[in-house]
Subunit: 393 residues, 2 copies
């Protein structure tokens, strides 16, 4: 599509945006652990947050901020289960930085890491005071927000409106799976120079979020810190709302898949394409039940085309379904169709071949109505157990 071009530069591609990442000495090996994003003009802010009832202090702090031009981000410490003191720590840190840089308005903070431990305030402040707000190092920023991530995750697009004007959207995210509440979380930062109102952005963000990040799961646990911030500073002087939504969906779907692909111990990215359910809601329940089923996930890891586990999980999900209307296929290999078991020596070989790929799709047609949903999941292998059992020891 010629009016939508992928470009390099992550959160710094949009006009007027700056970013950097440095080490505050929280990661033991001196790796980067604090980052900032700054816009030289005030931005409209749209956001979505975790539904976890034990939402962390930075989530509580950010909830009522609708205009800002600065985000401070730290890894290694989630500032969760820290009560009023956790909120006070955020205020203290952001106050010092705002005192130094008078251009900062309504600063935001995002944190990821260990639960239940106070932020090392001095270390973070010392590092943050070193930031130059004129720096455009999106790579350093994307590295500083990593926890168990194996690779940084960034993407950006330049969009052309019908009148020939251009605007940009860039993003970075972290998350090695939906969650490891003791070490990780899902954070995503999206910047744009589009001229768009908070309400328009919030509306689009929520719609796209439902289809992308909310459809991705590594282990079914929801962190205390999950956050998506979308900042737009209007500096391009233009927007095409349809194009904006299209680009945002491409960005967020890419990042959601990258996170699942980078899921702790994951070796495969599996898309669950559900159709024919009683409603979109029931299709969503099915897709999420499958992507979270231990038995389905271990069968994926074993590259075992065990359609019985898929059928049993659908039945266990409590939705409307019947064995004689259900159909199951792995990519284009049909294994069960409307009550007939098509599993035989030939289809087993074909399905096993599909499962050896890095990514593939499991299609489930419930055969009842028109409800559909698509979810992204991964397999579960020894490495997941290792990462999550051996942490802290």
């Amino acid at each position: 599509m010629s009016n939508m071009r992928k470009i390099d530069g992550g959160v710094c591609v949009a006009d007027g945006f700056f970013a950097d990442g440095i080490s505050a000495g929280m990661k033991p090996d001196g790796a980067k652990d604090v980052a900032f994003i700054y816009s030289d003009t005030l931005c409209e802010v749209a956001s979505v947050f975790t539904t976890n009832k034990m939402a962390a202090a930075p989530v509580a702090h950010a909830k009522n901020i609708s205009k800002s031009n600065f985000i401070l981000i730290n890894s290694k410490n989630a500032n969760a289960m820290t009560g009023q003191k956790g909120l006070d720590d955020i205020d203290d840190i952001l106050h010092v930085i705002s005192e130094k840089h008078k251009s900062i308005i309504n600063p935001l903070m995002s944190s990821t890491g260990v639960i239940g431990v106070r932020l090392p305030k001095e270390k973070i402040v010392d590092a943050a005071l070193k930031f130059e707000l004129t720096c455009k190092d999106d790579t350093a920023a994307s590295q500083a927000i990593m926890t168990t991530d194996r690779f940084p995750k960034t993407i950006a697009y330049e969009l052309t409106c019908k009148d020939g004007k251009t605007f940009r959207i860039g993003a970075m995210a972290k998350g090695a799976g939906m969650i490891n509440p003791a070490m990780a979380t899902m954070l995503c930062f999206i910047t744009s120079d589009a001229d768009i109102s908070k309400d328009q952005m919030q509306d689009i963000l929520e719609r796209v979020n439902k289809k992308t990040f909310n459809a991705a799961s590594v282990d079914g646990d929801t962190s205390t810190n999950d956050t998506v911030f979308l900042l737009a500073n209007a500096k391009s002087g233009c927007v095409d709302l349809e194009l904006f939504e299209q680009a945002l969906e491409a960005i967020m779907e890419f990042l959601a898949k990258e996170m699942v692909r980078d899921g702790e111990g994951a070796t495969k990215l599996v898309t669950y394409e559900i159709s024919g359910a009683k409603s979109d809601e029931e299709a969503e329940i099915i897709a999420k039940t499958l992507s979270n089923s231990l038995l389905v996930k271990t069968a994926l890891y074993g590259e075992d085309p065990n359609w019985g586990r898929i059928a049993a999980s659908i039945g266990a999900s409590g939705v409307t379904c019947k064995e004689d209307t259900l159909s199951i296929a792995y990519d284009d290999v049909k294994l069960y169709e409307k009550g007939v078991n098509l599993f035989n020596e030939q289809t087993e070989i074909e399905a096993s071949k599909v499962m050896k790929q890095d990514s593939f799709t499991i299609y489930c047609d419930i055969g009842i109505a028109d409800g559909k949903f698509r979810a992204f999941g991964c397999d579960l292998g020894y490495e997941y157990v290792k990462i999550n059992a051996d942490y802290r020891t």
Copy 2:
């Protein structure tokens, strides 16, 4: 308690009950795979079944039978996702056996094993025709119903009524965890010579089931075949309903814990004791969220007293909760109390010691109201992945 004595003999302890198990040649090593339970007089039948919408043929067949004196049980094949043919197979098999033994009335069938494959009818009939209905080998029967179980599970009690008369309840169960839908399932058979009506039994069974089998989880998946049958033939001529319920709860709690302890790859039995929730229902949601959380289960396997994962899972469960009213303890070691983190070098050592035990309790006081629930779960280690990834290969 002197009016309630544990005795040997499993499903054969009750007067008039008989059982046996033999090989029909379905298990590759010639191990027993077909069993029967028979009463020489007609029984009242109470039962609970899986909530899975893809319930297997034997579940559909049994649903409307309230009086019977014979159960045929096979392992290795679940007769699930087999449609009308699966139901016809049951009728055919039971018809042949009833023709031979005219004393059989309304026979029941239970199956466990692979999904989506027709029963090997001839093998099962050939084996079943060899059964002597006068045999009392409860051990053979309990072995024949095993799948991935590492050990058979039986228990029995003799109860004394106030007038000095006695009645008996015996049981056997299989299930290596709540479920591996491709290979296993949870089946439980309980026999009694108590003089009790179907309605009285059904009422008690459902109440006890909620607190025992429904509170146990290995992997959160619900099989297509889960079944509990409770048969009583009145031959003792007596019953004490309170005592009956007490014994049934002891039996079912014992078997539920045995199944979790035998959970695929499990090394620990963990009880989640939830109190102070908004309602019993919310306490149940919390207990089940914890016992099914991958992050909690892997932390248990790693013997990591990571209370942050417990708090995050409670928050993720969607119930009413607040960090400053929550308290968490591992046995008697308090790690978090009403907003205060008690985790330090000393409590870490103490909690790690608790976690090295074969079984222990995690207490979560939500601190809001009086809702409570207790659930049984296990850890998740490499062996679970091995069993479930490598099956079929």
